[in-house]
């Protein structure tokens, strides 16, 4: 987990397993005559690349579009714009072919398992639909899956019903079910936020293990910056449907560049902090029906300039290679006096 720095350089040159370019999702508003024809701009022009053997974290508050992004990548929701690339080419057509490569694990482990079926049926069904590995019986394959997610002894767990399991164990079953199809990509949408604190790390470590041993490409969607720093190789921060910052996990968490990431970090509870943080850019995210023009963070941003109100900033390089921030302050030649690094470096 600590040696990610070495793998970074080689991995960046690989073709991503799954890549999204310019992803857009607008949901039509169905209620209210005043809003007829209006859309919720949930995801706007998002680029993201998932590489084999890497965890990419998407961090954001509620309404930032992070879960919608996961659903778009899983093709559970139709794209409004943009495209998905699979190993640099067209993704597998047909939902079953796509599902056998890309699997989604959802947040709520209590709602995502059918309570009337046992684990043998739940896991066996995925194996039957997508094919049992050669040379194994169905039961052997199910037990192998249970062992991969550390539900041992597997010959006891195979007999259990979902209600007999704790939240953490259920989430492991969800992950096992996703693994049954032998996917290349695992999309985990807030996989630990509904679990008890003391068992969250177990599930995060399982994801790290799947990345390291089985070279899965993992998307980890979360609102918890600390857990993203712990697990991920890359952190992508979303705000109001757009990516505001992206880069190596530890670098983004330790020296955030975008004013929103800095705000987010200063708000996270941190027992090691000596004095109370000063929030810069308080307030709430904007309505996504009529999002602000230009940078969507500008109404809250302490460094907002005229340009920010008109033009949407592109992802500009900051820090080490692969670290970008969508902020006009990082345009070369921008007024360094207003640099957020100078203003709130103490918050980091």
């Amino acid at each position: 987990m600590t040696e990610t720095a070495e793998t970074t350089e080689t991995a960046e040159t690989d073709t991503p397993v799954l890549e999204a370019r310019g992803l857009v999702k607008h949901f039509p508003v169905r209620r209210g005559w005043a809003l007829r024809g209006a859309h919720v701009h949930a995801v706007e022009d998002v680029d993201i690349a998932l590489r084999s053997g890497r965890v990419t974290a998407v961090v954001g508050e509620s309404g930032s579009g992070k879960s919608t992004l996961a659903r778009l990548l899983a093709r559970r929701t139709a794209l409004t714009g943009g495209r998905l690339l699979w190993n640099g080419g067209e993704p597998p057509s047909g939902s079953r072919a796509y599902a056998s490569e890309v699997q989604l694990v959802l947040q709520d482990p209590f709602a995502s398992l059918n309570p009337v079926h046992g684990l043998r049926y739940i896991l066996g069904r995925a194996l039957k639909l997508h094919g049992v590995p050669e040379g194994q019986t169905l039961d052997e394959a199910i037990k192998a899956l249970l062992e991969r997610v550390s539900l041992t002894p597997s010959d006891q767990f195979i007999e259990k019903m979902p209600h007999e399991l704790s939240g953490g164990q259920r989430q492991r079953v969800n992950i096992a079910r996703a693994l049954a199809v032998r996917p290349k990509v695992l999309l985990a949408d807030e996989p630990v936020s509904m679990l008890d604190v003391s068992i969250r790390l177990g599930v995060l470590n399982l994801l790290a293990d799947l990345r390291d041993r089985e070279r899965l490409a993992i998307l980890y969607v979360t609102h918890d910056l600390a857990s993203a720093r712990y697990l991920a190789d890359t952190i992508t921060v979303m705000y109001a449907g757009r990516v505001v910052e992206s880069g190596p996990a530890v670098e983004v968490a330790d020296s955030p560049q975008h004013p929103y990431t800095q705000l987010l970090l200063s708000a996270v509870p941190d027992p090691d902090r000596d004095e109370a943080p000063r929030l810069t850019g308080a307030g709430a995210p904007p309505s996504l029906i009529h999002p602000p023009a230009g940078c969507r963070f500008h109404p809250r941003c302490p460094f907002a300039m005229d340009k920010c109100r008109v033009e949407t900033p592109p992802a500009l390089p900051v820090g080490s290679p692969g670290h970008t921030s969508a902020c006009w302050l990082h345009e070369s030649g921008a007024n360094t006096q207003a640099s957020p690094a100078a203003g709130t470096a103490g918050a980091a």
């Binding site: 604190v197 003391s198 177990g202 470590n205 609102h223 910056l225 509870p269 027992p271 709430a284």
Partner: protein, 351 residues
């Protein structure tokens, strides 16, 4: 040290009767001092919310308070809350002890305006106030939590989650209570909103001087916020200490494990393990110490005797208590639970 305002002693709460009863809270003893923030941390099912409901006498069937007392030092001297009749507790609740729950969304009535609901509190408890006085007070309360006066005419659905939670806090402070019980007040909110609300709360507490019983599962938040912290596990308080001491030098293996379950925001990334196993089912608690099956330091005696919450045997003068056999006479506590006075840098390297 400030005078106590709420003294909970040996509180026990069951759900149901007879042999099938579930002991949700067992022998909880806690003292809340005036002007203090007392944090109560625990995972789901640890009994922390049940304790809050019991103390405010809001516990519903099949919950039963089976023992103990909760002495409240109010305007008319110390009184046991559990001995008051319905009318007495009704007069006391909200005027001297008020509560803010997690889901502000469900706590406000959707068909009345915010102003209407704020003045309702005053109408019930401050009979002498005129209509215009009530309205002025409601506006003042909203202003106190950072909401403009024109929101008095808003309905709850017109406000964001953070604003609704602020309205709940304004409402809870309307009668200037001595004690504010907050049960996961910010869990449903985003971190930035959470931070804003907690900063406002801190300012209000300095001005108005109320004490807070703050219940949450987020121990890292409590370390920043609380003066002292009590940690609950399976219905029992397992450790109670000043916040800084609990964070730097935990004395109970569960506290230690819980602290090790929060990835740090700084420093080297290291593999952390959390706590093995999962929280126990209250219907069939393990014999002896409820934590022993998950405890790395458990000895045979832990499976037989349930430890009591006692001062630490080798530092009896410290204002802290733990319910761990290893911290009593005749046992040797492991090195990680006997550290003293570490500075922040050192703890970073050992954890």
């Amino acid at each position: 040290m400030n005078a106590p305002v709420l003294e909970i002693s040996d509180l026990s709460v069951d759900y149901g009767f007879g042999p099938d009863a579930v002991h949700a809270v067992a022998d909880a003893t806690l003292t809340l001092r005036s002007g203090e923030v007392l944090g109560l941390a625990g995972e789901s099912g640890s009994g922390k919310s049940t304790l809050a409901y019991a103390v405010t006498r809001l516990l519903r069937e099949p919950g039963v308070i089976t023992g103990g007392s909760a002495v409240f030092h109010g305007d008319d001297g110390p009184r046991d809350l559990f001995e008051m009749d319905g009318e007495e507790i009704r007069a006391l609740r909200w005027s001297q002890i008020s509560v803010v729950f997690q889901s502000a969304m469900n706590s406000l009535n959707p068909v009345f305006t915010v102003g209407n609901q704020l003045t309702d509190v005053l109408r019930a408890h401050r009979r002498g106030m005129s209509r215009s006085e009530r309205r002025a007070r409601a506006a003042e309360l909203l202003d106190m939590v950072g909401i403009t006066e024109d929101r008095l005419r808003s309905f709850p659905h017109e406000l964001s989650g953070g604003m609704r939670q602020r309205v709940m806090i304004a409402m809870a402070l309307a009668l200037e209570p001595r004690v504010l019980v907050m049960d996961e007040p910010t869990t449903a909110l985003d971190v930035v909103t959470q931070r804003e609300i907690l900063q406002e709360l801190g300012g209000l507490r300095e001005r108005l001087g109320f004490a807070v019983l703050f219940i949450t599962h987020d121990l890292s938040l409590l370390v920043e916020l609380a003066d002292s912290i009590a940690v609950m596990y399976a219905g029992r308080i397992v450790e109670h200490a000043p916040a800084e001491a609990l964070f730097r030098t935990p004395r109970h293996p569960y506290t230690e494990g819980l602290l090790n379950s929060f990835p740090a925001l700084h420093g080297e990334r290291v593999v952390m393990t959390g706590i093995p196993g999962s929280p126990p089912d209250l219907r069939g608690l393990p014999a002896g110490c409820s934590f022993n099956p998950r405890c790395a330091h458990a000895v045979d005696a832990c499976k037989e005797t349930a430890p009591r919450l006692l001062p630490i045997s080798w530092e009896p003068a410290e204002p802290r208590r733990a319910a761990c056999l290893l911290q009593t006479d005749g046992f040797q506590a492991p090195a990680s639970l006997t550290r003293t006075g570490l500075r922040a840098e050192e703890i970073g390297s050992t954890r």
